[in-house]
Symmetry: C2
Subunit: 256 residues, 2 copies
């Protein structure tokens, strides 16, 4: 997979609807070039693969992607699902080589941001610097939430938590909170939650039998949020790490 996919990815021309790079001034308002580099990634294609050189960060613009790591003996662990606004690529900062891989579950489009440019922004603007740090720190929180899930929760809790998370993220993007299409397979979900695909399927069915969900393949409707909250064991006022993106929908650097 990886070799061919990587080839197709690297040979894909980067779309440059605007000037590729523009001199950066000290003013916060001009930090973000008006048009950002964009790239399309078709369903099943690889955005980047573990082992590849790290030079770029990506911000998902449309579509859903999954990231995953592979252990020494070949076991795959899905480490995240990524929606519009999510930033990808941080896993390469430390070593200069990506430690995980990202593939599109959908036809996707991403902004491409050279990391060197991020560093320049950060050096010029305290706000940009803080934005970078916070984005990275938020990723850390997200993975610690997942560690808690993997370390302490039972299968039903995990699935309930997963559904609430997905639901919340769709809601933030302006889609329905209660009805959506799962872009990932049962196996992806299972890997993400530390469960086998059969277990995920069984629990979906059980939730449906109890009237909490309506499941039909990949299309899903949540019928009873309170029950899911109760099963998940999380307090309903709990907020996931706020996922305000570093860039807005037009690719402008957010001035938070």
């Amino acid at each position: 997979m990886t070799a061919a996919a990587l080839r197709s990815y690297h040979s894909a021309p980067l779309r440059t609807p605007g000037p590729p790079v523009r001199p950066v001034s000290a003013s916060i308002t001009s930090l973000a070039p008006p048009k950002r580099l964009r790239q399309k990634v078709r369903r099943g294609e690889t955005l980047y693969a573990a082992g590849g050189a790290f030079r770029l960060l990506y911000v998902v613009r449309v579509g859903v992607m999954k990231s995953f790591t592979v252990s020494g003996d070949g076991l795959v662990q899905v480490t995240g699902f990524h929606f519009a606004g999510d930033v990808l690529g941080f896993d390469g900062i430390d070593s200069g080589t990506h430690q995980s891989s990202v593939v599109a579950l959908d036809d996707c489009e991403v902004f491409v941001v050279p990391f060197a440019q991020c560093e320049r922004w950060s050096a010029e603007s305290p706000q940009a610097q803080r934005l970078m740090m916070r984005t990275l720190a938020r990723e850390l929180l997200r993975s610690q939430e997942l560690m808690l899930l993997l370390g302490t929760m039972h299968a039903e809790q995990r699935v309930a938590t997963f559904l609430l998370d997905i639901s919340e993220r769709y809601a933030r993007l302006g889609y329905s909170r209660s009805e959506f299409i799962l872009r990932m397979t049962r196996q992806d979900i299972g890997s993400y939650l530390g469960l086998k695909l059969e277990t995920v399927s069984r629990i979906f069915s059980r939730f449906q039998a109890e009237g909490l969900l309506q499941v039909q393949g990949k299309s899903l409707a949540v019928l009873d949020f309170n029950a899911l909250w109760r099963i998940s064991g999380l307090s309903p006022d709990r907020r996931w790490p706020a996922c305000d993106s570093i860039l807005d929908r037009d690719g402008e650097l957010r001035a938070a």
Copy 2:
């Protein structure tokens, strides 16, 4: 626990063997003030608690600490063990409030670094900026390794991986790779690995019966590294995220 421990912590005078703050020049060599603020944390005391305001980062100088998160329904998950050189406090960057707690498993001493100062360094020096980013990114990698462990490994694999990790970290600090004292309880280990304390104990006993270990309460000797590597399923050339600290033993900013 937290209330009393926090009080004792906040009332503990910060030792200031040198000038508390010194103007920062643009030169990399002068970025680090010669003496850093230090703080002692006695065994069982809390360095910081979830919910507390975030203003400081810490670098462990001596001793061992554990960090943990608490879920909505009170379940505790140990998220890491921290040795000399490890940086603590990043979990507060995003929200300004710590999301996890850290307690000393040992009589400890830490460097105290105001985050605002780190930001100033980062703004003045590209190297310092990069160091900060890399340190944060490394934390992210570490937690993704743990996710893989929690999501895909069996109990024996987890324990073997844990032992190899601890062993490696002691070795890096100049201690014996094969003989050491575990500072944490079986419950801490179990929580970290997503297992019950009895399971950890049983696997220690099993490993001992098979001649891989010698265990006597908290003191532990590894007799067969190859077997542990085999059980863990990791390739022996695998390197954990290099844990070169942001500060050296004297509290000087490392010039990497």
